[in-house]
Amino acid sequence: MRNFEYVRAGSADEAIAAIPAGSGAVYLAGGTTLLDLMKLDVVRPPRLVDINRLGFDRIEVFDDGRVRIGAMVTNTDLARHDHISRVYPVLSQALLSGASTQLRNKATTAGNILQAVRCGYFRDGVSACNRRSPGSGCAALGGANRNVHAVLGGTDACFAAHPSDMCVAMAAIGATIHIRGPRGDRDVAFTDFHLLPGATPWKQHALDEGEIITHVTLDAPLAHSRSAYLKLRDRASYQFALASSAAILVVDGGMIRDARLALGGVATKPWRAVDAEAVLKGQPPTVQTFQRAAAVAFEGARSYGQNGFKIALGQQAIVRNLSSLVA
């Protein structure tokens, strides 16, 4: 790993001040993505600003049902939190399906949101990659794109899948990301935070330079809902999703009253399937209904060669997950 300047921040304002405009300095939280990419020489920040002593490590349940999660809460602590595992099982399950015990112990909530794509051509440091070297092309087009590449939301510039499980659950639940920066505080809706690659895949999220995520607030849970996360992958544990489904259902009197659906492994950002939700609402919770919704969720999906099987697999993930909620 190249060397760099290290600054330990004692407060958010101190941290923000340590990242002057144009400096290329970055924040260091759990380090599970950043230090990996620095060892690969894919990112070369001249300065790391350590934000591990800022606090932001609490989970607060509000009276109106919303839950505010500090940016530095670890994936393990969030997944194992009593209220989260009871009221938002989809989030607990998603977190526990990601990475390994050791990594979840280090990885933080904000770091998970900001984690980098797993495309091998991005990570190898030399292949054509518009995300790493804007304008250099995309080696995954016509290359190895079976495992960690998307069929939804991609372009010829980039179609790497967003790798997070946690974010898929948060997209389904609905959440707000709280940001602090040189120009003060602002909030961004969770589903607006990650950007589609379009023609500018190097711009991955809504953060401007020097801005820092301080908290994420989950929407209040849907009353009388059930929720689950289903992740399909090449081995039973410690593997990124080929396709995953986060689902929240409210069923009453033999009808689906409300539904939330989000997809992982198949899309370039945590993918809320709003049109598919509309198909579910007001219908009986049958396999036929679930299949219709799954088909709508994948309308417009595109195979890039090796990953075409995800269009079918992703639909099966939706149907199986929804079926488990009404079994």
């Binding site: 190249r2 060397n3 760099f4 290290y6 599970t32 060892k39 790391l48 015990t101 050791q102 112990n105």
Partner: protein, 232 residues
Amino acid sequence: MSEYDKMAGKPEHGGQTEAASTSDARPGVSRRRFLQSAGASGLAAAGGGLLPVAEAKAEASPGGPTPDNTVTNSGHPVRLVVNGVERRLRVAPNAVLLDVLRDQLQLTGTKKGCDHGQCGACTVHVNGVAVNSCLSLTVMHDGDEVTTVEGLARDGRLHPIQQAFWDHDAYQCGYCTAGQMMSAAAVLADARIPADDQSLREAMSGNICRCGAYRNIVAAIQDARGSIRRTR
């Protein structure tokens, strides 16, 4: 630093140990010293298989990343409590905890496998929590308590996990074993992780065993779970 020095595992990140105590937590037999004097060919054979990433980088980067000795010699002061012993160090910003444990503190029980958080061989406890030491900067851990495999045994008695790995032959080559045992000790100490085999396998899935000793590893951990419960 010569290529030979790099292969021989000499410190990439320099720095001085300031601890007055020179007590060495390693057992008396120094296989490492023996290997260091045994010639480059044997080391290359071992290192080539075990450290592909590190080797590749060392070969491929004549003008690339090099340790910054100026920063190393001044360095950041860091206080760690390692296996109950206070250690005061000066480290470069890019000094990875795994490398500092092995190269500066000579605690070579913790192993470097993939060096990218994928294999678990480097697992240690920081403030009682299992983490990948290969993805940790030492300077992040100022004031922290670190436990390595050398700190598992107490008062000359093996930790129940160590005894169980011995009893169940839960290894072949042994390279992943320190990391397996550190993960296992943390898993058993965490009441939030269910005790069934499937939950145990999931919780241990960050530790890869290329020899495939998984059946015996699971048996050993479940056995240790029983013996820990009996002694409580």
